[in-house]
């Protein structure tokens, strides 16, 4: 483990001080940090709404609010968590930070577009905060018409504007990632030598670019109907509320893959690093990312099985929904197989990653239950759905985010956090999560509807358990906030490669990296996870081993 940090060395963090140097930066690493701060704020805000909901649901008659306010609570929780935390999180923080490093580039293709993307996110976010203070919307994050466009007495237009604006932030990030991956790779970095994290973010960027505009369309149409009084979905004019749902879910189903694919990319990196082995079936995992992105566009109708859609269309969407589970299953299998005969390093990133694998699998399998039309008719709009997506989003995605945070924190900050404390926090989160959401599967199956401010008394026991779990989960989330922050001031210097991982960011970039990332442009001659050789270090960027014969990317070491 080489330690190149020395007093007086210029890195991206000390390269210019002051607010202006940060707010006018075009360095992808600084922009990643700006996003990290903003996203954490929104996660906390969304968490506040979740806390209020879980407190409220301790009693069948509701503890805190009447139905009208309750509707606003879950709507705000959903809107903030989906658009201001889950969708941006890994791509804008870790994608921005790592993509150029992982491909051997100095920066992304469009650094100023990257900064613009952050500013747009902030503007959209501020509008949403203002809207939340004013009272928010009560339409659910799904804005179904005609309630949202004609009858709701809440700030629909303002909220739609905030979401519309933040959509551009997504699109700009997507454009940047796609072009960068195609045109900015270092010499020797072919597609099949890329880390799987890059493949995942590339697939995510494709979805961002193809799906988000349709969200923009549908929000514009709501705005036209509500703001200008033009009838589009109004049934009395012959309009069809289901058309709204088609357009909305055309975006929102791929959106869930936007949320999960980057997390899967993180898991690929952490599993290989902490079992000290190359991934099992590299090309299968890479193609699976693309397959998820592709097939994910064909399944949106499964959100509309009971809405009045044609049953025949329902059959088509049901079949396609089964199909989309296959590439996800391939990934889970390959991650698990990667662990076999590995040298396991049981640290916080690893705990979060295997937590991801288990909980994502549970969430994903319950998705298969829902893809079956008869089952969905019974459990749709119940807590079964709520549990299903929280298993994937929180048990999967948020845990992947925590894994990424704990894995790359030393690289980003140059500091190491308290590792035993991190393990405890990870286990706390795992426990709290399951206690919160497993009862909700049962509640849904028993018939408790979602989005209701009150419930039937026989459901109270499970609701109390769920709320208790939520308080443990909250503790688990607060802990990293504290010890990570603490490490910035008092943490030990991390060194260039504290995990003995492989990859350009670990082997050729310092912790924290210099502004231009690399002292010399790397020349790549290895496949993505060369755990069969020792880690290289700064100074060996173009070490080309001419004895290496070209080999299949799936060869394992």
């Amino acid at each position: 483990m080489n330690d190149h940090t020395s007093a007086g060395r210029v890195d991206y963090l000390n390269n210019g001080y002051g607010l202006k140097s940060w707010l006018t930066t075009t360095d992808h690493k600084r922009i990643a940090v700006l996003y990290l701060i903003s996203i954490t704020l929104f996660f906390v805000l969304g968490g506040v709404f979740a806390t209020l909901i879980r407190i409220h649901l301790i009693s069948p008659r509701g503890v805190l609010f009447g139905p009208s306010i309750y509707n606003r609570m879950f709507s705000m929780h959903g809107i903030i968590m989906v658009w201001f935390f889950l969708i941006p999180s890994i791509p804008t923080v870790f994608g921005n930070f790592l993509l150029p490093l992982m491909i051997g580039a100095r920066d992304l293709a469009f650094p100023r577009l990257n900064l613009a993307s952050w500013y747009i996110y902030v503007v959209g976010g501020l509008i949403t905060i203002v809207m939340a203070i004013l009272g928010g919307v009560d339409t659910g994050w799904t804005f179904y018409t005609p309630f949202s466009s004609m009858f709701s007495n809440s700030y629909v237009l303002l909220t739609a504007a905030g979401v519309f604006i933040v959509g551009f932030s997504s699109i700009f990030t997507g454009i940047n990632f796609i072009v960068t991956t195609h045109t900015m790779r270092a010499p020797g970095m072919t597609w099949f030598r890329l880390p799987l994290f890059v493949w995942s973010n590339y697939a995510t960027a494709l979805i961002l670019v193809l799906a988000t505009p349709v969200l923009a369309v549908v929000l514009l149409l709501i705005a036209a109907e509500r703001g200008l009084g033009i009838g589009i979905f109004d049934p009395s004019l012959g309009g069809d509320p289901l058309l709204f749902q088609h357009l909305f879910w055309f975006y929102s189903h791929p959106a869930v893959y936007i949320m999960i694919l980057p997390g899967m990319g993180v898991v690929s990196e952490v599993i290989t690093a902490f079992s000290h082995r190359s991934v099992f079936g590299y090309s299968f995992v890479a193609f699976a990312s693309m397959a998820i992105a592709l097939i994910g566009f064909f399944v949106w109708g499964h959100h509309m099985f009971v809405a009045g859609m044609s049953m025949y269309a329902g059959l088509v969407f049901s079949l396609l929904s089964y199909l989309v589970a296959v590439p996800s299953a391939v990934k889970v299998f390959n991650w698990t197989a990667t662990l076999y005969k590995g040298r396991i390093n049981f640290e916080a990133p690893f705990i979060y990653s295997i937590g991801f694998i288990g909980l994502f699998t549970m969430g994903g399998m319950t998705g298969l239950f829902l893809a079956a039309l008869p089952v969905d008719v019974h459990v749709t709009d119940t807590y079964f759905i709520v549990a299903h997506f929280h298993y994937i989003m929180v048990g999967g995605m948020v845990m992947a985010y925590m894994a990424a945070l704990h894995f790359w924190w030393p690289k980003m900050t140059g500091r190491m956090y308290n590792r035993p404390l991190a393990v405890i926090a990870a286990l706390t989160i795992f426990l709290g999560f399951n206690l919160t959401f497993f009862p909700q599967f049962i509640l849904g199956y028993l018939g408790m509807p979602r989005r209701y401010a009150t419930y039937s008394p026989e459901f109270q026991m499970l609701n109390v358990l769920s709320s208790a779990g939520a308080s443990i989960l909250a503790v688990g989330y607060v802990m990293p906030l504290l010890y990570l922050f603490w490490s910035l001031a008092k943490g030990k210097s991390a060194g260039q490669n504290p995990w003995d991982a492989r990859g350009l960011e670990w082997e050729f970039a310092d912790s924290p990296p210099i502004p231009d990332n690399f002292a010399r442009t790397p020349v790549i001659s290895w496949h993505a996870y060369p755990y069969d050789r020792p880690a290289l270090t700064i100074g060996q960027e173009d070490l080309f081993d001419s004895t290496l014969k070209p080999e299949s990317p799936d060869a394992r070491h």
């Binding site: 195609h182 494709l206 193809l210 349709v214 012959g238 069809d240 289901l242 058309l243 088609h246 055309f250 566009f297 064909f298 949106w300 109708g301 859609m309 044609s310 049953m311 025949y312 269309a313 088509v316 969407f317």
Partner: protein
């Protein structure tokens, strides 16, 4: 040095002439009653006009395969959206259910 492919002015004028001819054609054919084929004809001509603009005015003819793929993907995705949405609307009446008037 000049970056990118330089297109002769003559090519641009030829493409423009073709576009105007197609415009005249589409309006003329619209006045002829072809029943349900009117829209097919009109959209076909529109697609040809679009291809002329894309290939020569927008230089796709001289651009990398990446640009082709991106342009193609956008259109393909609209087709997917159209096909799956219409799989609903076209089949709603099959079960003899309520047809939205």
């Amino acid at each position: 040095m000049i970056i990118g492919h330089v297109v002769a002015k003559r090519v641009y004028f030829l493409v423009f002439a073709a576009l105007m001819i197609l415009l005249a054609l589409t309006v003329t054919l619209a006045e002829v009653n072809l029943g349900r084929f009117n829209i097919v004809v009109a959209l076909t001509i529109a697609v040809i006009k679009m291809l002329l603009v894309m290939l020569w005015f927008m230089h796709l003819r001289y651009s990398s395969h990446l640009s082709w793929a991106i342009a193609g993907a956008g259109f393909l995705w609209v087709v997917v959206m159209f096909a799956l949405i219409f799989s609903d609307y076209l089949t709603r009446s099959w079960l003899g259910g309520v047809h939205v008037p």
